[in-house]
Each structure stands twice: as structure tokens, then as C-alpha cells.
């Protein structure tokens, strides 16, 4: 390889020698040009630099699923990824996560397929149907309904990125998507069996969207898992813990099961303006049930008040008329209940005159912005980090005091992966003097979920070692950070839980960015 446009890329490959059970890093310099894939580079290394480097590969056209690896923290097919597209002169290549490593980049695929094969991947029909000597009739529309889900190659990229997959009970995103593919195939008549296969598993999904994001074939596993849960809900196959949450929401319009009249309890003594006595403000704050009812997270809402007051923001809330936005409920598959919540909120939102809506939670942000029926209203909604970053850029927000500490920022899935808001929270943190911002290995798009989405924040029941939050806090501890900064009340709950489980309260604290900012005022 030579000529124009050639470039040398440094490959840092995480190796494992099973004979002596040792992990180590090998570094290679590889010439690349436009069109060179990661697999081309691995083959170049093996043929020219180091014959001992071990990895799987076969079709080199993205269809056999052999060569998925993690590159710079994200799973991808080596053969289907051009080096230039990664825009990085150093590439860290590691084996897929969530599976034991056999050697170098080769992971043991047996646990993955053992789970996958619990899904029945043939049509289920009464035996007499198969006596038919012609095809079954299936319209092109019915064919299209499930087609995109048939494209899964079982490359395990989704499994590697999945927070739920650290729990053995979870069959994996691709398995659940494939199960759903058969459930909605008009030729299939095995819905009961298909739902039984996933009753335990589906509820472990946190709806973090990593599976969908990293699928090389664009299979939307995440949505198909949510849809599977809807089918479970319709059939009444809901676990007790989830049922409790749904009943709370049904009765009290929030998952905490506390009466709506207590919704403004967090604001005690703060003199907050609220609907219906106020119907106009520059900024309408959508507080979130977690910040309103969870004693710990009330501090976040209170911190926001301090910050907004210091900035002279003209703001108000919906008071007792703010109901749960419904995000968790929607991800739990209870579409009807979600619609009820959304209709109420929409009704009130239309009665309030604000220039913009600011949310504390990325979940409220995502739902108000992107989910029907909210979406149809084209609300001018921002997450508070966006709003504050704007003020920072205008020079209106100037953190005065110091915040001493080594801080690692954990990207909330609904802010980052779902809405690509990565820079604003970091910009705010970087504006604070004394604050040293460090990055976790799995960051931004590759961030690892806290485990709290899709109602998991209230229903999680796994042993500590299998909880994503514990996994995540350990990653922060490796960096010797003393604060994990977050921008989501659910992340706060989960990660703080993990800090307690690990008994590291004296080493590391979990703080919302608003709380950190408040300390600098």
C-alpha cells in the first residue's frame, strides 16, 4: 500500500494470552488509505507484523457477523468500517464486552448463542398447516412489517453494548428482536409461546438504545423490545414490580404513588411561581416526578432554582398539574396509560404561555420533543444543560467560585445516545475553575447505561454484581474520580445506589451538574 492519501494509523490492540491468563496491549503502525477497513488493517498486521494476533473474520462484506470488535469503545464490524471514517489517528481495538475472552479479540460466542437459541426461529403453526404444498399467502405489506428485523447477523455488537446483558437472565437485544420478528410475522401462530419465551427477559431492558445505535444492519432492537413489552402488557403478563409502578401512575399520575397535591413539596420555602396562578413566563420548568418526589433528587430541583434565581431567569412550573411525562411508562409498553398522561400534560401545556420549556430530566426532554402526541405540538423544549450552555456562551452564566475535584461526566442515555447532546454538559463543567474533567473509557455514544431506564429505576432486582450501575461506578473509580457528574435524576438514583453498595461513599460522590453549579455561585 503506497501512494497518495496514505496515512499511518496506530493500532493499540488489547490482547489476551490464555496460556498464562495475561492481558496486555500490543501497538502496531499500519498504513491506510481511503477504502481501507479495520479488517484490512488486522489482516495487514497478521500477515506482515505479528502472526500471533488472533481475531475472527470471514465474509468481509458485513453479512457473516464474524468480525465485530470494540474500536475506541464502540462495537462495530471490522470489515464494514473504514478507518478514515473513524477520524482518529489512534485506534484502540478490544474484544467485544459481556462475553468471556478466549484469546486476543476472540470472545467465547457460546453463551450468546445458548441464550439466542432459546428463541424459536421457525414458524409456529398447527401441524396440519404444514401439509400445504404451496406457499402461505403473505402480502407485501405484512412482509414489510417484520423484514427489517430479519437482517440481524448475530454479530453480537448489540450484546456487547447492552447494559442488561450483564445479567444472565437477559436473552440479549438480538434474541428479543428476533422473537418479535416472528411474533409479528403474519404466517406465525405461536404468539403465546413467543411471549412466554421473553416474559422474564424483556423487562430487564433499560431502553438505553445502544443496541439500535450500534447495529451494523440498522435493526431497531430497542423499539422491538418495547413493542414486545406492549404485547406482554396486552396479555397481562406483567411482573409484580412493574405492575406496582403502573398502578401508581394510573392512580396518582406519578410512579411514586404519592398524591399529586404533594408534587410541589420539593419547593418548600422557595416561593416558586406555578400554574394555575401563573400562566405566562419566559421559561416553563418541567420538573420530573423524580425531582419532585424523591427526597434525594429534590435537591436537584432546588439547585436549579438557586441557579435560575442567580441568573435572573423568568420561570414558572406547572405546579400540581404536571403529571408524569410518561417516558418510563411508554418504554414499559403501557401505551394506553402513556397516552392518558400525555393528553393531560398537553392540555395544560397549551394553557401555559412560555417561550421555552426546560426539563431537568433527559427522559422528559426526549419524550416532549420526540414522542407523539407531544411531538406534534413542536414544543420549544430544551434540557437544562442546553439552556445553561447557551447562557454560558452569551456570557450570562459565569461560575464564580471554585469546585475542587476530579470529575467524570456520565452521559445519560436519553441526552446522549438518544439526542446527541454530548458537548453542552461538558462545556458547563469545563467552565468551572478548579474542576478537572476526565472521561470514562465508555463515553458519549459509547456510554454505558446506569440501568435506570424503562422503569428499571424502580424495579431492578439483580444481585449487585449484575447491576449496570455498579459496573459503571467501578469504571469511574478506576479513573480515581471523586465526583461522578450527571444530568439526569434517574442516573443520580442508580449511581448513588451503587456507591452505597460498593461502600465507597468516602471516595466518590454523585452530583447533578446543577448541584455542582450551585456550589460555585
Amino acid at each position: 500500500m503506497s501512494g497518495e492519501g496514505e496515512k499511518i494509523i496506530e493500532f493499540r490492540i488489547k490482547r489476551y494470552n490464555p496460556a498464562i491468563k495475561r492481558h496486555y496491549i500490543s501497538t502496531y503502525r499500519v498504513p491506510v488509505r481511503r477504502g481501507t477497513t479495520i479488517l484490512d488493517c488486522l489482516l495487514y498486521i497478521k500477515e506482515n507484523l505479528d502472526e500471533t494476533l488472533t481475531f475472527r473474520y470471514s465474509c468481509r462484506m458485513g453479512i457473516c457477523g464474524s468480525c465485530a470488535v470494540n474500536v475506541n469503545g464502540k462495537p462495530m464490524l471490522a470489515c464494514y468500517t473504514q478507518v478514515f471514517d473513524l477520524k482518529s489517528d489512534i485506534l484502540i481495538v478490544e474484544p467485544l464486552s459481556n462475553l468471556p475472552v478466549i484469546k486476543d479479540l476472540v470472545v467465547d460466542i457460546e453463551p450468546f448463542f445458548k441464550k439466542f437459541n432459546k428463541v424459536k426461529c421457525v414458524l409456529i403453526k398447527p401441524p396440519e398447516s404444514f401439509k400445504r404444498v404451496e406457499e402461505f399467502i403473505q402480502s407485501p405489506e405484512d412482509h414489510r412489517r417484520y423484514w427489517d428485523l430479519t437482517l440481524c447477523t448475530k454479530c453480537m455488537s448489540c450484546y456487547s453494548a447492552c447494559p442488561a446483558a450483564i445479567d444472565d437472565r437477559f436473552l440479549g437485544p438480538s434474541a428479543l428482536a428476533t422473537n418479535y420478528r416472528f411474533a409479528i410475522d403474519s404466517r406465525d401462530e405461536g404468539i403465546e409461546e413467543r411471549l412466554k419465551t421473553i416474559t422474564e427477559s424483556a423487562w430487564l431492558c433499560t431502553s438505553c438504545n445502544s443496541c439500535t445505535l450500534f447495529c451494523p444492519k440498522l435493526v431497531d432492537c430497542s423499539t422491538s423490545i418495547t413493542e414486545s413489552k406492549s404485547l406482554l402488557v396486552e396479555s397481562g403478563m406483567i411482573p409484580r414490580t412493574a405492575k406496582d409502578i403502573l398502578e401508581n401512575v394510573m392512580r396518582h399520575h406519578n410512579p411514586y404513588g404519592i398524591h399529586q397535591s404533594k408534587r410541589m413539596g420539593w419547593a418548600g420555602g422557595l416561593n416558586i411561581r406555578a400554574y394555575p396562578s401563573v400562566t405566562r413566563a419566559d421559561v416553563l420548568c418541567f420538573i420530573c416526578c423524580s425531582a419532585a418526589y424523591d427526597t434525594r433528587n429534590m435537591e436537584i430541583a432546588r439547585a436549579m432554582v438557586s441557579v435560575f434565581n442567580s441568573l435572573g431567569v423568568d420561570y414558572a412550573t406547572l405546579g400540581e398539574e404536571e403529571w408524569c411525562c410518561g417516558d418510563h411508562i411508554l418504554r414499559m409498553g403501557e401505551k394506553g396509560l402513556y397516552e392518558m398522561l400525555a393528553e393531560h400534560n398537553l392540555d395544560i401545556l397549551q394553557k401555559f404561555n412560555a417561550n421555552r420549556i426546560i426539563t431537568i430530566s433527559p427522559h422528559c426532554y426526549h419524550t416532549l420533543k420526540n414522542e407523539k402526541p407531544y411531538k406534534d405540538l413542536n414544543l420549544n423544549v430544551q434540557h437544562y444543560t442546553q439552556f445553561l450552555a447557551e447562557l454560558l456562551d452569551k456570557g450570562a452564566l459565569k461560575p464564580k467560585g471554585e469546585f475542587k475535584g476530579r470529575v467524570v461526566y456520565h452521559d445519560p442515555c436519553y441526552l446522549g445516545k438518544r439526542n446527541q447532546i454530548y458537548e453542552e454538559p461538558r462545556r458547563i463543567l469545563q467552565s468551572i475553575s478548579g474542576l478537572e474533567l476526565v472521561e470514562m473509557r465508555r463515553t458519549k455514544e459509547g456510554s454505558f447505561c446506569c440501568g435506570g431506564g424503562a422503569g428499571r429505576v424502580w424495579t431492578e432486582d439483580a444481585e449487585p454484581e449484575k447491576r449496570p450501575c455498579v459496573n459503571r461506578v467501578k469504571e469511574a473509580l478506576e479513573l480515581e474520580a471523586n465526583v461522578i457528574a450527571v444530568a439526569c435524576p434517574f442516573c443520580t438514583t442508580m449511581l448513588e445506589d451503587a456507591v452505597k453498595i460498593l461502600e465507597v461513599e468516602n471516595k466518590i460522590a454523585v452530583k447533578d451538574i446543577l448541584e455542582i453549579l450551585k456550589e460555585t455561585l
Partner: protein
């Protein structure tokens, strides 16, 4: 050494292997069946098959017509009794897959859709967009894993067959995870290991298609048939060689030279781009040789033009090749020409087998591309190979099952297994020479690409043969730097190269000896078909000095050879 005992061992878990497993278990549900493969089944090369599977499904088409198309496409070297059997079985296999859930593409009235394909005079390719093999594989795998008595040995690398008194006793394989060699004692073995096109540099084939099963059977005494017939696919993507389905032309795509001409009008005025592959590949090669090809950084190329098909049709019917073009060469066929040239694509030859998939070794069956029945003769028609894998995979599975149920397990000569272990670990891995496997492999692929390509001559074939024999000599003095046990892919690459060198020699030697031009085998020094002397199959037998050839007549039932025009 770990010993596993099964009634049947299937080697290879692509379409033919998986179909054989399902067929075997349906004949004998008490049988213990092992499927061993050096890859997880879903990583098999069959998933790369794109365009479709041929079967007579509709009014207007007929078995007679499918058979004639196949025989004419084969340049009359196909055994006609095999072809007649094959076309009758194919529709059942389509329906089987439909019953198991294959997402076949549909017509507006909800029936299976079929598209035109090269050399077929009726649109008879059933398809699942342009991922037909992929969907057939995932469907078959889903079916196969429902049976408890099919045991999968994923990532076991087969190295040799154990044969005594001309009957199969077992085989040896390396468990890649542990790196240990194990032995399988069995009544029957079904070889279903695919083709050997990785002996070429520019090929549509997966890295794993190294012809292991052909070489193993050959060394065990089974003859290889018609190995000189290698199909060159007209549309290998430049520069990788990745397959761009013939379905792209089936949907209406054009082949264009640098002058912007649809040059096929000069070669096959009637069928144009949908003439059989040997004819289209030769036409392209002629355009290249005569200077009418496009010039690019990776050498001359021809263009495949899909632009006039429109975005909707490309997205619906050819989504994979569009994705492949975007991912691998950064162009969108909706707006741009696809750079292609002929690529080694399929081996018409393989382990000689009869209509019951039996080889001359008792208890050894062969199915799919590694076998030669001969169904495809001198040139295979597109979509007949996935159909063949299904039809003859089923035959091999059923026949092996019947054989296993009617015969006793015979003793396994362990000395042969131990000798094989010594050959692999002391001989190959322990070799302390100075030659490097990647270098020998590169040189082999280069010479095959130069001298055993579309246009062949005595001089070139002799040069290639000398070179391959030199490389085989050098292979004896290799050094593998990775001496470890677990997942030693440097070792398996060396074993694959050993197999490929064997097959490269057979392919080249058979090509040298066939002094005529027929189907995919074109000799510039013998440009005509010679039915008087060469309407015969080549059989290559292993000897330590190199292949020994015999010839055997073609079975003709009712179609006499005629001039082949498209």
C-alpha cells in the same frame, strides 16, 4: 485424545450441511448427528449468496425448460439424469423453507416472487431481496437447532478422514477453543465444506472458503471431478472482489465499457447482460484486454449501471449491494456506476458423487459446492447452486441416515488419528524452516490469477503448475511463529494453505490436460468445444507424485449437444 462417537458426522454447516442435518434427523430421529464446522454455522459462506434460488413454481415454466437451461448453460457437460432429478426436487425445498419461516420476497398477491437470472429462460429465481443465502441459512439454522439429537461442534477444524477398507471410520478435527485434536468415530460422513476459490487473488469468496473438505476427501482416496471448471462471476466489486449479485442485472442493470457501450450486444445479442456467466465474464475480459475498460487506481474495470432502475427499486430489491457499495467503496449505485470485473466465484468441480450423494468411498457423502454430481457441467447457472445445496444436502442427509441405520459402527484405527495429530502438531506447527505462510499464499493466488484465469494457454498452465509445485516444496519448510494452543489461527491458516495448494495443483493440472474450450474453461490454444474427444468428465485421483487423471463419459438422456448461442 478426546473421542466423540456419532452415527453421522456432517462437516460444514452452510446450506448443504444444515440441510443434510435436518434431512438426516427426519429419516432417523434416534440417530446421533454431529455437525462440525470451523466457523459458527451462521458465519458460513452460504450467507453471501445473494440473488436467488432456482425452482419451477409457476404456470408457464416447466421442469423440462429448467433442465434444458441448465444443460445448455453447462455447455453439455452436465449429467442429464442428475439435472432432471434436481429440477423436480427444487420446488419442494423452496416450500420447506417457506414453512420454516424464510422471508421470501412476495408478489402483490402474497405469493413467492421470482426474478430473471442469467441463462434461465423463465424468471424462476425465488429470492429474499438480495440476501437469499443469508435468509435461507438463518432459517435452516433456526430449524436445525430445534432437534436435540443434532449436536453442533462449532469452531472445530477438520483435518483428515479416517478410511479403512474403502469405508469411512471417522475423522480428526481440532477444537479451536482448546487447540486439542479430537477424533470422531462414525458410520457416515457428509462433506459439505464448500468451494476452494480462495486459491485465487480476486474472488467473491469469504476468507474461509479454502476447499478443506475437497482436499481431505481427495487425500483419503475419493476422486475430484471436473476441477478445471472454475466459474468467474462477471460482477466482483473492485477492489475487494465482493459479490455484486447477478440479480442486479436480473432487475435490469447494464454492463458498460469506457466508451459507454452496452458491449454485451457484441457477444450475446439476445440475452445481453443475462447470458450465462462464462460468456459475460469472457466478454468483460475481452473488453479489458482490448483496452475498452475504465482505468482506475486498482487496474482496469467494467461498470455496472443501475442508475436507471431508480432509487425505490434499488432499495427494495437490491438493498444489500447498495449498502455494500456505500460501506466498502463509498459510492451509491442510485447515482453512480459500480466498478466491477470478473472474480473467481464457484467450483463446478468437486468430490465425485452420484445421484444419492454417495462418493466412491463407502459411508462418505458429499453435498453442495464441494461435491460434483455433475449438475453444473462446465458452467453453472446463477441460482442453481443454492438450489443444489438444498436438494443434494437433503439427499446426502437422507442417504447417510439410511446407511447409518443399516450398518454397525466399525472399529476406529486410533493409530491413524495419532499419526494425524503428529502430522499437524509436529509436522506443520513444529516445522522449523524459514518460509512464511502469508508469502506462499500470496504467490499461489497471484499465479492462479495470472495463469489459471479466464483465458488459459498451455504455456501459462505449465508455468502455473511449476510454480505451485515449487510452492508445495517451500511449504515443507515453513515456520509458524505462533506456537500456542488455543485458537491458533496461524496454524489453521497453514493447514488451509496446505489444502489450497493441493487443490490449486489439481485445478491447474486438469486445466492443462483438457485441450478444448468448454463453458468456463477457455483455452486460447484450443478455442473450440471438442465433443468428439472431450465430452467426458475428468476424475483426479490422489497419488504422492501428483494427480492421476481418468476420464468418464457424460450421461446424456435426451438432450444432444448443440451449438450454444445466447
Amino acid at each position: 485424545m478426546e473421542k466423540n462417537v456419532h452415527d453421522i458426522v456432517i462437516v460444514g454447516a452452510g446450506l448443504a450441511g444444515l440441510r443434510a442435518a435436518v434431512a438426516a434427523v427426519e429419516v432417523g430421529n434416534k440417530l446421533s448427528i454431529a455437525v462440525i464446522s470451523k466457523l459458527h454455522p451462521l458465519r458460513s459462506h452460504s450467507v453471501c449468496a445473494q440473488g436467488g434460488t432456482a425452482a419451477v413454481m409457476r404456470e408457464g415454466d416447466s421442469f423440462e425448460l429448467h433442465a434444458w437451461d441448465t444443460i445448455k448453460g453447462a455447455d453439455f457437460l452436465a449429467d442429464q439424469d442428475i439435472v432432471e432429478f434436481f429440477v423436480r426436487q427444487a420446488p419442494k425445498e423452496i416450500i420447506n423453507l417457506e414453512h420454516w419461516g424464510c422471508p421470501w420476497s412476495r408478489t402483490p398477491d402474497g405469493k413467492l416472487d421470482q426474478r430473471p437470472f442469467g441463462g434461465h429462460s423463465f424468471p424462476r429465481a425465488c429470492f429474499a431481496a438480495d440476501m437469499t443465502g443469508f435468509h435461507e441459512m438463518h432459517t435452516l439454522y433456526g430449524k436445525a437447532v430445534t432437534y436435540d439429537n443434532i449436536k453442533f461442534y462449532d469452531e472445530w477444524f477438520a483435518t483428515s478422514l479416517i478410511v479403512e477398507d474403502n469405508s469411512v471410520r471417522g475423522l480428526t478435527a481440532i477444537d479451536l477453543k482448546t487447540g486439542e485434536m479430537g477424533v470422531f468415530q462414525t458410520k457416515a460422513v457428509v462433506m459439505a465444506t464448500g468451494g476452494h476459490e480462495r486459491i485465487y487473488e480476486f474472488t467473491t469468496f469469504s476468507h474461509s472458503s479454502t476447499g478443506d473438505g475437497m482436499a481431505i476427501a481427495y487425500r483419503a482416496g475419493a476422486p475430484l471431478e471436473d476441477m478445471e471448471f472454475v466459474q468467474f462471476h462477471p460482477t466482483g466489486l473492485v477492489p475487494s472482489g465482493v459479490l455484486i449479485t447477478e440479480g442486479a442485472r436480473g432487475e435490469g442493470g447494464y454492463l458498460i465499457n469506457a466508451k459507454g457501450e452496452r458491449f454485451m450486444k457484441n457477444y450475446a445479442p439476445k440475452m445481453m447482460e443475462l447470458a450465462p456467466r462464462d460468456i459475460v465474464a469472457r466478454a468483460e475480459e475481452t473488453e479489458i484486454r482490448e483496452g475498452r475498460a475504465f482505468k482506475g487506481p486498482y487496474g482496469p474495470y467494467i461498470a455496472l449501471d443501475l442508475r436507471h432502475l431508480g432509487e425505490d427499486k434499488i432499495k427494495e430489491r437490491l438493498p444489500l449491494i447498495r449498502e455494500v457499495c456505500i460501506k466498502l467503496v463509498g459510492l451509491d449505485p442510485v447515482n453512480e456506476l459500480i466498478p466491477i470485473r470478473p472474480a473467481a466465484h464457484y467450483s463446478m468441480g468437486g468430490i465425485r458423487a452420484n445421484i444419492r450423494a454417495e462418493t466412491p468411498i463407502r459411508g462418505l457423502y458429499a453435498a453442495g459446492e464441494c461435491a460434483c454430481y455433475s449438475l453444473h457441467g462446465a458452467n453453472r447457472l446463477g441460482t442453481n447452486s443454492t438450489a443444489e445445496c438444498l436438494v443434494f444436502g437433503a439427499v446426502a442427509g437422507e442417504e447417510a441416515a439410511r446407511y447409518a441405520m443399516s450398518t454397525e459402527l466399525r472399529s476406529l484405527p486410533m493409530d491413524k488419528a495419532l499419526a494425524e495429530e503428529k502430522r499437524v502438531f509436529d509436522g506443520v506447527l513444529g516445522s522449523e524452516g524459514s518460509e512464511r505462510v502469508p508469502e506462499i499464499r500470496r504467490e499461489m493466488r497471484q499465479v492462479m490469477n495470472t495463469d489459471v484465469w479466464i483465458y488459459r494457454t498451455e504455456e501459462g498452465l505449465k508455468r502455473a503448475l511449476r510454480k505451485i509445485r515449487e510452492l508445495r516444496e517451500r511449504f515443507k519448510h515453513i515456520k509458524i511463529e505462533d506456537k500456542s494452543k488455543s485458537f491458533n489461527t496461524a496454524l489453521t491458516s497453514a493447514l488451509e494453505l496446505d489444502f489450497m495448494l493441493e487443490l490449486a495443483e489439481v485445478t491447474t493440472y486438469c486445466a492443462l490436460m483438457r485441450t478444448e474450450s468448454r463453458g468456463s474453461h477457455y483455452r486460447l490454444d484450443y478455442p473450440n468445444r471438442d465433443d468428439k474427444n472431450w465430452l467426458v468428465h475428468t476424475l483426479a485421483y490422489y497419488t504422492v507424485e501428483g494427480p492421476r487423471l481418468e476420464y468418464t463419459p457424460v450421461t446424456i438422456t435426451k438432450w444432444q449437444p448443440t451449438e450454444r448461442k445466447y
